[in-house]
Symmetry: C2
Subunit: 392 residues, 2 copies
């Protein structure tokens, strides 16, 4: 992940990809809110969208294109308006946006993916969106920074990660963060772009597992937004790569983005990491870890540097994951606090160790060999003030 260190400012897209961003007037702030990424050639791609039964128009359309199975070349993103719960008019607006961006980029409409993020229940200002779209070609460039900024909503900073494979091919990822809990802001977008040539079936079969171990592990409030999506586009311009190396690198990029999303939670002051081992299955390990990360109670304790490990016992217990309490173990920042029974420990020492940028709980379920990790953030009073008065 050496590229990550270079930071968002200097980061460029892989070969054949360019992006454009501009302010179309969707965000009241006047910040950039309409952007696109286009590839010079067709891309092998994979998609994962929200399981919400009230999914937004963009998710429904992308899912249909994905099952349609054709290649894509472009992605258009608007921030500031989720175009969700907007009825059939919203679906038409979404298709019109894809059509308009496709024609200015010379890409067929069904080669253009769409992504909208922002408040639910408001129609897109199509006049501004469409006139903005006409100017996207003028803004196309290789730099990632303008795109990474234009997809943000309440994020405090852009989120990117990148890696170079042994053969020189690259994977560049960008994401927009979930705050700790603001799913109506379309919690999560994750986009990965690569110039590697990768087999379509290999990518499609591996992608769901990668998403499950990375972005689905960072659903910090258990809420699933109407607009969540993860997309990977590979245009093959850098030639063949080792599939195993590519998939591992892709998961590394997505894991890094997931951690950045968790750490940038609304009102968050630290990253919460829960590692579960000894589970009967990876699914149960991830469920137990996630249930800890979504517990407002545990998150509050982490905020207060309170080593209240009983809240981990509670969260694991209600996750439904099989556990042998007699063999169960819990440690906080590496300090064992429970092993089938409460262990003696220095309250103030453990509390002091929790005053770090990342607080790690390690939990052993004692029933199997599977493991899983989840990321969240602490819960602060600032979160409430952020979310108690959003629309009004």
């Amino acid at each position: 992940m050496t590229d990550t260190a270079q930071g968002t400012q200097d980061l460029t897209f892989p070969q054949g990809f360019r992006a454009a961003a501009l302010a179309a007037g969707i965000k009241p702030s006047g910040k950039t809110d309409l952007s696109c990424v286009v590839s010079d050639s067709d891309c092998t791609w994979a998609f994962a969208g929200t399981r919400s039964t009230t999914a937004a128009a963009c998710v429904t359309r992308n899912r249909a294109l994905f099952s349609g199975d054709g290649p894509v070349r472009a992605l258009v993103v608007n921030a500031g308006n989720a175009n969700a719960a907007t009825g059939q008019r919203g679906a038409r607006d979404n298709a019109d946006l894809a059509d308009a961006v496709g024609s200015v980029l010379n890409v067929p409409e069904d080669g253009v993916l769409t992504a909208s993020t922002g408040i639910i229940g408001h129609l897109l200002p199509m006049d501004r969106v469409l006139s903005g779209a006409e100017h996207l070609p003028e803004e196309l460039r290789a730099e990632v920074a303008p795109f990474a900024a234009a997809i943000m909503t309440t994020d405090t900073h852009p989120k990117t990660a990148a890696v170079t494979l042994s053969g020189g091919a690259r994977i560049v990822g960008t994401a927009k963060g979930s705050g700790m809990i603001h799913p109506d802001m379309a919690t999560m977008f994750a986009f990965a772009f690569s110039d590697a040539r990768v087999d379509r079936d290999t990518l499609r079969s591996a992608f769901p597992g990668i998403v499950n171990r990375t972005f689905n592990a960072v659903t910090v409030d258990g809420d699933t937004s109407t607009n969540d999506m993860a997309v990977v586009l590979a245009n093959g311009e850098a030639g063949e790569v080792d599939p195993a190396e590519f998939l591992a690198a892709l998961e590394g990029v997505m894991r890094e983005l997931a951690r950045q999303i968790a750490a940038d939670g609304e009102g968050a002051t630290k990253l919460l990491t829960v590692r579960v081992s000894g589970a009967r299955s990876e699914a149960e390990a991830l469920s137990a870890a996630r249930t800890c990360c979504v517990s407002p109670l545990l998150k509050s304790a982490v905020h207060g540097n309170d080593p209240n490990w009983g809240r981990v016992i509670m969260a694991v217990g209600r996750s439904g994951a099989e556990v042998d309490v007699e063999r169960m173990t819990v440690s906080v920042q590496g300090i064992p606090v429970f092993a089938g029974r409460p262990l003696p420990y220095d309250d103030s020492a453990v509390s002091a160790s929790m005053k770090a940028g990342e607080v790690v709980f390690e939990v052993g379920l004692g029933v199997g060999e599977a493991s899983g990790e989840s990321w969240g953030c602490d819960l602060s009073a600032e979160y409430v003030s952020i979310n108690a008065d959003y629309t009004t």
Copy 2:
């Protein structure tokens, strides 16, 4: 529910029931923390306990007695210590408490139910608990108030409800509240006592449904504590009753207690009620309503009097309940805001209507005839300060 109006202070138990409460020194505050209820005669009873896989010793033991199928006559409760995650020693302590209370009350050990609530992961101070138990008989009386107070933890006031059936038999209920989110304080106890004579099988078959529509509808943070339990004891001393009238009255008492629990959430300033109709099944209606009530995002909007109904769309969407968004309806305090598409409404008028003691959202899913209701509370910054520093 006329008896409810008389208030906790004057409330007495049904015929043949007496209760005792004293301070055994479990709570650092020195408040009453050890209590019991005993019936002069054997009781028909029903029990519902937490589904947590890390259930406390009291839940495990009561569940075993319930499957054992014999009558019970007494219930002993300690507050301030959950006796959960305390290993085999904790299980022995729990059995020893039942044994000690049984002998001073002349009830066989397997006729005594146990209930512990408080912090997880600490052994019971058995010396103080057992010496306290010896003095319980001296404190036995017909008044409910001392018992209702002794079972509280962070509750701000005792919770009781009572009803008199047409034939004169009574049902008296007491509960300890969940704060909005403090499951390690053993979110919820609900105990109902009646002098009605009710058929064992009738009671046992109806109880799970009643609990599901009342206490399970008030799991405001989705967390399931290690100690949650609901118990109903009927000693038959007032003679036969109409089963249908009894079960309806019991559900009324439990519904009233559930609403009191929700309204007394930690840091709560108002009750949140979500009514879902047009669902495919009662289970899906309850799931959709619960998912709205547990959403920290919606709860924050309610706290800020923010009519951000998009958060209802989100919560229903992720609940998994089947919905036809084109036929879906949402109203806030009786004001329609969504009907397949956003409806025009006066933001400030809706916001003003939310400055009430109870905020009601009514949601139509448009796919069936089933309905369900759930209760929660708003999320305030005070919640975080309450929970950020509990043990230390």
